[in-house]
């Protein structure tokens, strides 16, 4: 086998492992965890996305989403789930950020459009304390709330790396959280949990890891927890033997390795091969091919999806 990108990262970077929580999360969050803060506050905002990450986290089974919502976190703001709307909702957004300053997780779903002063995505409007009317773009919301948070969870490939809204041909200059932070000089720690959509275990698991261990999971060069994104799909694929014997499937429904059908497994790091999806009933390679949805260059670097690399 040739040198994988993972090997390359490990060779080049001794800093991948062992970043302590103090280096990565706001001290307020660390304190809150030490104090055993129950129902950790989460503020979840949505930019240029499809709500698929939210829908995916609803599929959580261990723990169930009911337990996540009622016992583990306190979802202070979530556009798709919250009872509030309009002014009530926007007041809650900023009030919760103030109340839990330095402690809350800011969950970002969807990309952030930079063009036209952010006008390609408006998340709400409100009258502020001084009675001034404000229209709040996703660009404003992330820029204002991230520095107030204890840490950012960039959920899904759009929020992590720009995803489809940031793909070739876009006019909105959509970017992920990391790129925005670089441009704005924001230093708040970010954990990328990519995937289109991410597996619920990757999202709930990352939150649970921080809350139970009091530390961050190890992150790779692309800012992802190696806990979930540390293994190569291809090297662990049940079709690996067929690959080695060059037994390639000719159509989706015929037997053999999926490489010739366009499977991007060799370039992709995620534990789908063992975690499987939706209660473990299936996964992409068993059903079709891997299209590399967890990688920073999805979709452009992974397409055409149905042609071998």
């Amino acid at each position: 086998m040739s040198l994988t990108r993972r090997d390359f990262v490990k060779l080049c970077s001794g800093t991948v492992a062992g970043l302590g929580v103090s280096q990565l999360f706001h001290p307020g969050l660390v304190m809150a965890m030490k104090e055993g803060m129950q129902k950790h506050p989460v503020i979840w905002i949505q930019g240029q996305g499809c709500t698929g990450c939210s829908v995916s986290i609803l599929n959580s089974t261990n723990p169930s989403i009911k337990k996540v919502l009622l016992d583990i976190i306190s979802m202070e703001y979530h556009p798709t789930l919250m009872a509030a709307e309009g002014q009530t909702a926007m007041e809650q957004l900023y009030a919760a950020a103030e109340k839990f300053k330095g402690k809350f997780f800011l969950a970002v779903e969807g990309a952030i459009p930079m063009a036209a002063d952010g006008k390609y995505c408006v998340v709400g409007e409100m009258h502020d304390k001084d009675g001034n009317h404000r229209e709040i773009t996703m660009l404003d919301a992330v820029s204002e709330l991230a520095p107030m948070s204890g840490g950012v969870l960039a959920l899904g490939t759009c929020a992590a790396y720009g995803g489809i809204p940031g793909a070739k041909g876009n006019v909105t200059e959509a970017v992920g959280v990391g790129t925005l932070f670089e441009k704005k000089g924001i230093k708040t720690p970010v954990v990328n949990i990519p995937g289109c959509a991410p597996h619920p275990d990757w999202m709930v698991g990352s939150i649970a890891y921080v809350l139970t261990q009091g530390a961050l999971p190890e992150l790779d060069r692309d800012g992802r927890p190696t806990l979930f994104f540390g293994e190569n799909i291809h090297e662990n694929c049940p079709y690996l033997e067929q690959f080695e014997f060059a037994e390639f499937a000719e159509t989706f429904t015929s037997k053999g390795c999926r490489y010739e059908l366009g499977c991007k497994g060799p370039s992709v790091y995620a534990d789908c091969f063992k975690r499987r999806w939706n209660g473990g009933v299936n996964w992409c390679v068993e059903n079709a091919v891997c299209i590399g949805c967890v990688e920073p260059f999805f979709p452009d670097g992974m397409s055409p999806f149905y042609e071998p690399e």
Partner: protein, 476 residues
């Protein structure tokens, strides 16, 4: 609570709700209220990604993977519209088992979407959740009229529905790989021949879902009908209905479970897609691109355009706004309803008469449709053949066009692809929310949700609960 003050008699006041939460996407609504009623409304779609532009130059087969990522609630519908457009362009005819597998994938997600929509998006307009975030804060006077016991039924079902909709996703994943998004829908059919084991696993899960729809979802909807009878006379809308038809029942794809058809100005008409065009005069798109048929459609965003107020275009049929979604499909098809409906004296959808065109009429149509789709799934499970081919291979054409019509759970969905040199030259999507949440068209006619808001009671502008109820009933 909104900070708006109640206007004096005869005076108008503007009330803006932004965000309209518990929907998929970014929506703002601004209503003008006079003497306790909405007299004007404007819907603003506040987000643009530009899928149509991003698709240009790509491998046509990638369209079904990319376009389903328009919506995380109904990716299977976008994937279905896309593969149907590609089937058309590639000139490929499905196997029987391919058609049935597609129906089972789309059908399972219909149930997921309808259940998620009612319980997790709409129900908090009628039921008070537990007194913890995200169920609080809420409007101080939110007009919840259920008894504590009834309210508890609502809360218990909300929580149970979380599990039921997850099971629906497992059904989709069994045949389609995973959810969201789905891998299994491709031009030429589906990617996985269903095994006997997977069909059995699907069937086992399905039983729980069907029981929930019949024994809990439908009765709760009719309970709301008795607790909120005025909402059967609120939110009328344009009364024009459109359906492209969904779930092909035969291999020639001539018969559909829910039929194609148009209901315009009180007349039933045959669907003719040539009569569709999209206006953009009041949208943030270049005026030079207004009035085009989707096959000639262009997407040139102009976020600073002063005469625009939404990123949503205004599709019109025969130049008129049309409502799409469960009510439109159920009105067009007018199928027999559930035992629960018959007990209440309604044999078919049209027996509701004008009450159908209302907030609760739309919820009833959705719940009734869920049972109809469930009954069909039961039949497809019998028809599906374990081990039989679901995929037909076809080369990418040098040059071709294709149109794919289907119905997303939330309404009519059209994809159009124009292929040149084996790549996408133009791709146009007319999604359900464009029909329902559209701004005014070039003639100044309001979109269906805007129109449905006219006359809606807002006795207290600080707690405009009926505005959100009206909008959410459409599942925009």
């Amino acid at each position: 609570m909104s900070d708006a003050k109640q206007p004096a008699a005869g005076k108008k006041i503007k009330v803006a709700i932004d965000p309209v939460s518990r929907i998929e996407g970014h929506l703002k609504v601004e209503v003008e209220v006079k003497d306790g009623k909405v007299v004007d409304a404007r819907c603003t779609g506040g987000m643009f990604r530009g899928f149509e532009n991003i698709l240009r130059g790509r491998d046509p087969r990638d369209a079904s993977q990319l376009t389903q990522r328009i919506c995380g609630v109904c990716p299977t519908a976008h994937a279905t519209a896309s593969v149907r457009a590609l089937d058309d362009a590639f000139g490929v005819k499905l196997t029987s088992n391919g058609r049935i597998a597609r129906n089972l994938i789309l059908g399972a997600n219909y149930l997921q979407s309808h259940i998620l929509h009612f319980y997790h998006l709409a129900a908090l307009d009628y039921v008070n959740g537990p007194d913890v975030a995200p169920f609080v804060p809420r409007y101080e006077k939110n007009d919840v009229r259920l008894s504590p016991e009834q309210n508890q039924i609502g809360v218990d079902q909300y929580l149970k529905a979380l599990e039921i909709r997850r099971i629906c996703h497992e059904m989709v994943a069994l045949l389609g790989g995973k959810m969201p998004h789905v891998q299994g829908l491709v031009v030429g059919g589906t990617t996985e021949i269903p095994s006997a084991e997977k069909l059995a696993a699907y069937g086992e899960r399905f039983k729980k879902v069907r029981a929930f729809i019949e024994e809990e979802y439908l009765p709760l909807i009719y309970l709301l009908g008795s607790a909120y009878p005025d909402l059967l006379a609120t939110g009328k809308g344009c009364k024009n209905m459109l359906s492209y038809g969904v779930f092909p029942m035969d291999d020639a794809e001539q018969e559909f479970l829910l039929k194609p058809g148009v209901y315009t100005d009180g007349k039933d008409l045959k669907l003719d897609t040539d009569r569709i065009h999209e206006d953009v005069k009041h949208s943030w798109f270049d005026d030079a691109t207004t009035g085009l048929h989707p096959s000639k459609g262009k997407t040139v965003p102009m976020p600073e355009k002063e005469t625009g107020y939404s990123f949503v275009k205004s599709p019109r049929y025969d130049g008129k706004p049309h409502e799409v979604g469960p009510l439109a499909r159920m009105w067009v098809s007018n199928p027999e309803l559930s035992p629960a409906a018959k007990k209440a004296g309604f044999k078919r959808m049209r027996d509701f008469g004008d009450k159908a065109f209302s907030i609760l009429g739309r919820h009833i149509a959705r719940a009734e449709e869920a049972l109809i789709v469930a009954d069909a799934i039961e039949k497809w499970l019998v028809e599906a053949k374990a081990g039989e081919e679901t995929f037909v291979s076809a080369p990418i054409p040098e040059k071709a066009v294709g149109m794919g019509l289907t119905e997303a759970p939330r309404g009519s969905l059209l994809h159009f692809v124009d292929i040149k040199d084996q790549a996408i030259d133009n791709y146009q999507i007319v999604a359900a929310t464009l029909w329902n949440a559209s701004p005014r068209d070039d003639k100044g006619a309001r979109g269906p949700i805007e129109e449905a808001l006219i006359g809606v009671p807002v006795p207290d502008v600080a707690n405009p609960v009926n505005v959100g109820r009206t909008i959410r009933a459409f599942d925009p």
